[in-house]
Symmetry: C2
């Protein structure tokens, strides 16, 4: 039987190097976009519309949507909220459509939807659900780390490593980045919070007093919900 | 005292994201370009001229140079040799100027020389010399992995990790990629050959029967020579 490709794209800049026409792309932006998207979908948001630019987000004004915009770790002035997971609770998002733009995560979604067979959204809070789903599809897999402003980051790579570790080597052909991600995860998994505290974005969030957000985003398996991109909207699979 | 930046650029595609005007860039292409360049300079080559394209290499014909060209792991037809380190012995290269183009390494040199304060060439065979030199300069450091066709690769990242490990954290501000490289190296260092055997380029070289080249390129500290780019030529520092 032919092996399925299991690859890790360490930043969106590298995406053009990958053939993803036959792939499920898992977009990963642990601190905090994809963690919040998973939480919002789990809490009954009808849809989350990821857009790359702040202006695009603004164009949804008066359409009865919640508008969420984050840049450089902070809520953009004039918006309902940014990408803190605590803004995506059931009481705030149930039945609502949210239009969201973030520094890294929504850009990664935007880039991958143009070519991928399917785009789903992953985070530690739906890790097992993501792995169970991927295991049962007959498609190649690309784990796409959103990174920080197109650079490599630790926390997204660790999540990619967690997925590689769960899926195992049987039946998959890994690229070098998948091996590296797996080994970093195995080294970090006993103390993810400690390990990611040296990450540049972790430090940035500590400076912005976002420790509670960090802690939340490292929770495992709070939900089975998988956000999937259908047309231009992320909805519950 | 202000800390110096110690960063790792995991593939040349990411180079535009880094400010390197005040940096020493260490170009890394372990299998095999930079290992062979270090070995050639150590063995008395007068200069090695890295060029990005095969045609550019050919234009040096009749100028009394050795012409070396490698693509996809093999010597390009019609050339004196490629980038196997065994072609860079003293008897072959002493006093000679070599014009070299390779799949990844020379591209990385070409991209970095446009902006960097200084470009030097690193490999396991001159690891200690590289680290001693870097330690004593008052410049930022960028470890530039040539990768494989612009993708991340394990062996270049491991060498970057070896440098980070030797330099230590004191006095340096690491980026996330530097932390990751260090941790991968610490995990792999007891058995670099075993670890890199899972690397895609390692497998590719095994298929091409280049095991002896791999083994050679993982030797540590065969020389103190450091190739440095002066104008368009790599010469002994």
């Amino acid at each position: 039987m032919q092996k399925r490709n299991l690859e890790v794209c360490l930043t969106p800049v590298l995406l053009p190097l990958y053939n993803i026409e036959n792939s499920i792309v898992v977009v990963i932006d642990i601190f905090r976009a994809t963690s919040s998207i998973c939480y919002g979908i789990a809490n009954g948001a009808e849809a989350i519309i990821p857009v790359a630019k702040v202006e695009e987000c603004l164009s949804y004004k008066d359409q009865n949507c919640l508008l969420a915009a984050e840049r450089d770790g902070q809520v953009v002035e004039g918006f309902d909220f940014g990408n803190s997971p605590f803004a995506y609770t059931e009481e705030k998002v149930k039945g609502k459509t949210i239009v969201l733009t973030t520094t890294n995560g929504t850009y990664a979604i935007d880039e991958s939807r143009k070519r991928a067979h399917q785009v789903i959204v992953g985070s530690f809070i739906n890790l097992d659900a993501i792995c169970n789903y991927l295991r049962n599809q007959d498609k190649d897999i690309l784990l796409l780390c959103a990174g920080w402003k197109n650079r490599f980051n630790l926390e997204d790579t660790l999540f990619a490593g967690a997925v590689v570790t769960q899926l195992g080597l049987d039946g998959f052909e890994l690229d070098d980045a998948a091996y590296a991600a797996e080994d970093l995860y195995l080294q970090a998994k006993e103390d993810l919070a400690g390990y990611t505290s040296k990450a540049s974005h972790g430090k940035r969030m500590q400076r912005l007093n976002l420790q509670e957000d960090i802690k939340f985003c490292l929770n495992h398996n709070l939900t089975d919900a998988i956000p999937v991109l259908v047309n231009d909207k992320l909805v519950k699979m």
